[in-house]
């Protein structure tokens, strides 16, 4: 931020670095520890590179609350974080420690060494019928698929095929809650929150195993 007053002060404060990344690394770690201690670290997040792109992982104290593709929103991960701040709490900090288990299991999944996730999930971002769908999806086993119509029937609303599509498209926990295992009745993959290529990658990974 350059203001007229900076110019007035001339080079007096030149010795004070505008950015000091070393210091901020330390300070950030300290703030995370303090926030954790005081119980005000409402949303902890990290990013993780995977074969389907960089995923944003976010957890509340209850559990994993959000997995997001960078491409999901026009604003990318920054927009997702802003949305979490709005809908859950503005106390959002990058704090990978809380996501250690999640990270480990997702990595194992992509290495083909894990067929189910054993994680505490916080489903607060999913409500009503969408939440019912999300809950059902967790029961579709690794390597298996169901059609949108089958999911609709299973949730007791056989005519809600489109709503199932919407529920999948707005799944707050893709990959971990396997909306990628829902495909079209004709066998084609259908859309995906992380893009068609990501869906193909995940389905191929699971059939190869």
């Amino acid at each position: 931020m350059m203001t007229a007053s900076d110019a007035e002060a001339g080079d007096l404060f030149e010795a004070l670095p505008l950015r000091d990344d070393m210091a901020h690394g330390r300070l950030h770690a300290r703030l995370v520890a303090g926030a954790q201690r005081e119980g005000v670290l409402d949303v902890a997040y990290r990013t993780l590179r995977t074969p389907v792109g960089t995923l944003l992982l976010a957890a509340t104290e209850q559990g994993l609350v959000r997995v997001a593709y960078d491409s999901e929103d026009h604003g990318g991960h920054a927009a997702v974080l802003a949305d979490l701040a709005e809908r859950i709490s503005p106390r959002v900090l990058e704090a990978p420690e809380r996501l250690a288990q999640v990270t480990k299991q997702i990595e194992e999944y992509f290495e083909g060494r894990r067929v189910r996730f054993d994680l505490a999930l916080d489903l607060r971002l999913s409500k009503g019928f969408r939440r019912e769908v999300i809950t059902h999806l967790s029961g579709i086993a690794y390597g298996h698929t169901e059609s949108y119509a089958q999911v609709a029937a299973a949730t007791g609303s056989p005519r809600a095929v489109r709503a199932v599509g919407t529920a999948c498209a707005t799944n707050p926990l893709p990959v971990v809650v396997p909306c990628h295992r829902v495909v079209r009745s004709d066998g084609s993959a259908g859309g995906y929150v992380g893009g068609a290529a990501a869906k193909h990658t995940l389905l191929s990974l699971e059939t190869a195993a």
Partner: protein, 178 residues
């Protein structure tokens, strides 16, 4: 935080000095995190953070001092403002966390001890006014709200502070690159 962290660190370094700046920053942001829903809709974040930082500095000064610090009174050192524990421990003693900070601050590229010496010599009120105006970019009206007193008094404190700094701080001869 990523947005305001660097700005607040510059302010803390200028107001409480290199040894205590990181403590002050940490306390400010933790307090801000706890208070976050209390941020008024129309408030500017810089002003809000500076207000918290200022309060933290005064709290620490009060906790560390047996006598109340009158506004405008010159503390013996910046340390008295930021960390009472360090004050009672003696000027040469720094806490574990500060030591960590001191480790990197020995690097002359990161922090110029001469600048802090010059700032330290200013009355606390002038030093605060200078930092809040020239580093945080607050208008004098907001600085007056933080420090107490009138807008004119805040402007005068900043002007007097800058004037003293210009004469006491050996400025670098080269011009700013941009």
């Amino acid at each position: 935080m990523a947005e305001y962290g660097p700005l607040v660190l510059r302010v803390c370094r200028a107001v409480v000095g290199p040894a205590d700046a990181e403590d002050a920053w940490s306390e400010t942001f933790l307090a801000a995190l706890k208070a976050y829903p209390g941020l008024p809709e129309d408030a500017r974040v810089e002003a809000w953070l500076v207000t918290i930082a200022h309060r933290k500095a005064l709290d620490a000064a009060r906790a560390g001092s047996r006598r109340p610090i009158a506004v405008g009174e010159v503390p013996e050192s910046g340390r008295a403002l930021a960390d009472g524990r360090a004050l009672t421990g003696g000027a040469a003693v720094t806490g574990g966390r500060s030591e960590e900070a001191g480790g990197t601050l020995k690097d002359p590229d990161q922090w110029d001890g001469d600048l802090w010496d010059a700032l330290k010599a200013l009355p606390q009120r002038q030093r605060s006014a200078v930092a809040y105006h020239y580093l945080a970019g607050l208008p004098y009206k907001e600085i007056a709200a933080v420090l107490g007193g009138s807008t004119d008094a805040a402007r005068r404190a900043a002007a007097d502070g800058i004037k003293s700094l210009r004469s006491s701080y050996p400025r670098r001869t080269h011009e700013r690159g941009e």
